[in-house]
Amino acid sequence: MSDWNLSVTRRGLLTSSAAVLSIAPAIRARAASQSSAGATTLPVTFEVNGQERMLRLDPRTTLLDALREHLKLTGTKKGCDHGQCGACTVIVNGERINSCLSLAVQHAGDQVTTIEGLGTPDDLHPLQEAFIEHDGYQCGYCTPGQICSAVAMLGEIERGIPSHVTGDLSKAVSATNMEVRERMSGNICRCGAYSNIAAAIADVAEG
């Protein structure tokens, strides 16, 4: 445990026991340092939307805040900061995650895709187009999370990963309305655009 005796505070480590396990290699590998404001920072390098990004971060910084506050990629939203709403969904190494629930320093070497990496106003991803076409949003605050989640979710169906509502596990899974609704249920939309989101996803799933 002596490696742990850096200036990582006990409070920081207690945030999540799961985080403690995966944080270890990153901390051992690199020296912590003090910033001018007296904060302990650690370096971390990961790829965001195809670009390598190197940051020095307070180890308590979530991936969500690293994106929003440090890289100024504010397309990823904070709705709850507690893994309860899905607004912060990004795609890490092909899997969708709630970026508020993991620390940025856990992601050394990872490939992160955010809404900004899927498409831009002049060059929209087909799902972004479909959301506009079907009016799959209202306030727009859950929207980047819905879209990132949907992109990865369609990948899960393609890979044959079953869900709670999958009837026959021996058959190929398909993107039925109920499968999509079930799998998207971690992304809350208080504006209630669910039916339109489902229509937008169906459009893209059908190709």
Partner: protein
């Protein structure tokens, strides 16, 4: 411009753009993550630092001591603002509970401190180092208790709003068929996805707030009175909001603390209220207890109808008038509608989407279902039989334009109502008990004065500036449609700038008045701009036409761009003639549910809304408003409830896991039909709002469908499994 009388034909009656399904002009920004919400303005005010709010751990009493030293010396901390070191701030007309300052605590999670640090992590860590002790007072946290007490002690009723016609009591007593039931609805939370958030920056004595607020002019006035400074020195900017539903009608403590903290730290400060604080710190919808009595003859003709609603709030707060729609819905010469307010020490209750009417329909529209069953009548026919000629609560008032009967008939046809079995509990599909329900919907159509500035540049492009907000309602798009139609240009040639207090004051977003009011204001400014263009060209303003970027008069034609740059500002106001009318919006709502015979789990299979709301400015986004409201109504019917801790006086389930709003899997097929109606009384575009109409009725339709499926009538919302299962028929 003043709207003095109902209009005849207008340019909107031959519209090419207004009234057509139109994709949101802000869509590419929202879907690509480029639309900037309040907390995301890295582009404004350099050197931003972070504020973190500390909430009170008691509901009532005062702070005895606060130890701030450890927090102040924590790494990165720039300032700590504490209630004990701040004099109570000014009050505003827009808040009941004081937002900040002084040791008195009036509700749980009231803000008591704000820590400002270089980083969010430092501010959060330092906030946890503040040690506070309290002197706790006893409080009253039970609505059922205050209402019980009020039965014998009328002083417990702190305000009442009673409307009587005729002699309800005698007519009810004499009625052949009677319904007398009590319904309860719980406290609810707006739970909008974007928490309250503000960035504040000072430049000398001038304050700018990049914030998330539905009502810019109200917010500016409130900040001026809270901070006791001239409103001319305050700017609010709120171009995008991540939802509001009434929760962001008023400035909240994020804005106040950001302003104080920015002053204390000498740096711009950004604060997003932590999600866990939002439920108790900010406002919520009141719980209600509602008694409905209806007396009818054997044929279903209503003779007497009474709807009384009790709610509770902090001292000086407003009521939740669940009886409001009953003043307009059904004929019945002897009627009584009343809202009574008692005092509670829970957090401040205030407007949430269709205040009054949303919970009100959960009572009256179930009572109508109960009456229909007692009469052995179809619930749609019962409603149609009791359609009033004029406003039942004040028969001298006419309806401006009302097609409720058509809503019911069209809905019945489209939904397949004829297939409904009137005897409950008779349709079974495997483990599922299936039923259908219907409800009528009424929500007042409010209209507010609203202003805008419309400009033409030298390229003939149009820009619109107004402090109107788009809270997901589609304001950007309908305003662009209106300006494009009036000025005769393509939608792509219009840009819209919203939410900035430097722009003309608009109606803002609330009470479903936004669409009708803000487009009327844009129309007024366009009329003035057209007049200026014709004057510049020497054309006759009466005969000149604007189309395809050109202005024509008799045999002459010039490009609109030749008139630019040119700018006009105006505000639409309304004459007293509207007082002769009840301006309302109407709907029929249908639901089909399946209830698991073994577990009592309710699944919504289908929902339909048929809406009568005048001209639908943009059917695409209006439909979204309605389906979104139906989702929120489903939450109110089935899952949403702020659970009150009646010992300590707070909402226990104050996060997004505990306060259950509907998710994707909860919602089945949704359909919306808009009747093709026009209301010339309300405004020149003849349009009314739909955003609140959509939440008035679907919950009752679901409750009635559950009864039709199971034969179980649950009158205490939400209709959760525990309440259903005890009454469900035995599974064979």
């Amino acid at each position: 411009m003043k709207y003095e009388a109902p209009v005849g034909k207008t340019i909107f009656d031959d519209a090419k753009i207004v009234g057509k399904s139109t994709r949101r002009i802000d869509g590419p920004l929202k879907t690509s993550g480029m639309a900037p919400y309040a907390y995301e303005r890295h582009d404004v005010a350099s050197g931003q630092v972070y504020g973190y709010i500390v909430g009170s751990a008691i509901a009532k009493g005062r702070i005895a001591s606060m130890d701030l030293e450890e927090a102040r010396s924590a790494p990165g901390v720039l300032a700590v603002i504490a209630a004990t070191e701040t004099d109570p701030l000014g009050s505003s007309n827009f808040n009941t509970a004081p937002l900040f300052g002084g040791p008195e605590i009036t509700h749980y999670h009231q803000a008591i401190a704000c820590v400002v640090a270089e980083t969010f992590e430092q501010a959060r860590a330092a906030a946890a180092l503040i040690r506070t002790t309290y002197d706790r007072d006893e409080g009253e946290y039970s609505l059922s208790r205050t209402v019980e007490q009020a039965a014998s002690d009328t002083s417990k009723i702190v305000s009442e709003n009673v409307v009587r016609n005729g002699d309800f009591e005698s007519a009810f007593a004499a009625a052949a068929v009677q319904i007398d039931q009590t319904y309860t609805t719980p406290d609810e939370s707006h739970a909008m996805m974007e928490p309250f958030a503000t960035i504040a920056a000072w430049e000398g004595d001038k304050l700018t707030l990049w914030t998330s607020n539905q009502m810019i002019a109200w917010g500016r006035a409130a900040m001026a009175s809270i901070l006791r400074m001239p409103k001319e020195n305050i700017r609010l900017d709120s171009p995008y909001l991540g939802g509001g539903f009434g929760g962001k009608l008023w400035v909240r403590v994020d804005a106040v603390l950001a302003a104080l903290a920015a002053k204390a730290a000498g740096r711009p400060v950004k604060i997003m209220m932590q999600r866990a604080l939002t439920y108790n710190n900010a406002t919520h919808r009141h719980a209600t207890i509602q008694r409905v009595r209806i007396g009818a003859d054997k044929n279903g003709k209503i003779a007497a109808i009474a709807h009384e609603c009790w709610s509770g709030n902090l001292t000086g707060g407003m009521d939740e008038n669940g009886a409001a729609q009953t003043r307009a819905l059904y004929a019945g010469p002897d009627n009584l509608t009343a809202s009574y307010l008692t005092e509670l020490d829970l957090p401040e209750a205030n407007a949430m989407r269709a205040p009054g009417e949303a919970p009100g329909h959960l009572a009256i529209e179930v009572a109508m279902d109960e009456l229909a069953e007692q009469l052995g009548m179809d619930p749609i026919e019962l409603r149609i039989l009791n359609e009033p000629e004029t406003l039942p609560s004040n028969p001298s008032i006419k309806f401006s334009d009302r097609h409720l009967v058509e809503c019911l008939r069209v809905g019945a046809e489209s939904f397949g109502w004829a297939n409904r079995k009137s005897r409950p509990g008779t349709v079974r599909e495997g483990r599922w008990m299936v039923g259908m329900g219907v409800a009528a919907g009424y929500r007042g159509a409010l209209i507010m004065k609203s202003g805008a500035r419309v400009s033409i540049d030298a390229r003939g492009k149009i820009s619109v500036e107004t402090d109107m907000t788009d809270i997901g309602t589609g304001s950007y798009t309908i305003i662009a449609q209106t300006a494009a139609e009036c000025m005769g240009v393509a939608l792509e040639d219009v840009s819209v700038d919203l939410g900035d207090s430097r722009s003309p004051v608009s109606a803002g977003s609330g009470g479903q008045w936004g669409a009708a009011s803000s487009t009327a204001g844009v129309y007024a400014a366009c009329v003035e701009l057209r007049r200026m263009v014709t004057e510049k060209f020497g054309y006759d303003p009466e005969t000149a036409s604007f189309a395809d970027g050109m202005v024509r008069d008799a045999n002459v034609v010039r490009a609109l761009s030749e008139a630019g740059p040119l700018s006009a500002e105006d505000t639409m106001t309304y004459g007293d003639f509207q007082k002769e009318y009840d301006m309302g919006t109407y709907a029929s709502h249908f639901a089909e549910v399946a209830v698991d015979a073994y577990t009592g789990e309710v699944r919504i299979r289908r929902m339909l809304a048929v809406c009568d709301a005048g001209r639908i400015l943009n059917p695409l986004t209006a439909r979204s408003q309605v389906i979104g409201a139906m989702v929120m109504a489903a939450g109110a019917a089935l899952t949403e409830e702020l659970a009150v801790d009646k010992r300590f006086g707070f909402f226990v389930n104050h996060d997004m896991a505990g306060y259950e709003v509907p998710v994707h899997a909860d919602i089945g097929q949704q359909s919306v039909i808009f009747l093709d109606t026009l209301d010339g009384v309300i405004a020149p575009l003849k349009a009314k709002g739909v955003g609140e109409l959509g939440i008035c009725g679907p919950g009752a339709a679901i409750a009635n469908a559950i009864y039709n499926a199971t034969g179980v009538r649950v009158r205490d919302y939400p209709i959760t499994v525990d309440k259903l299962i005890a009454e469900m028929p035995d599974v064979a």
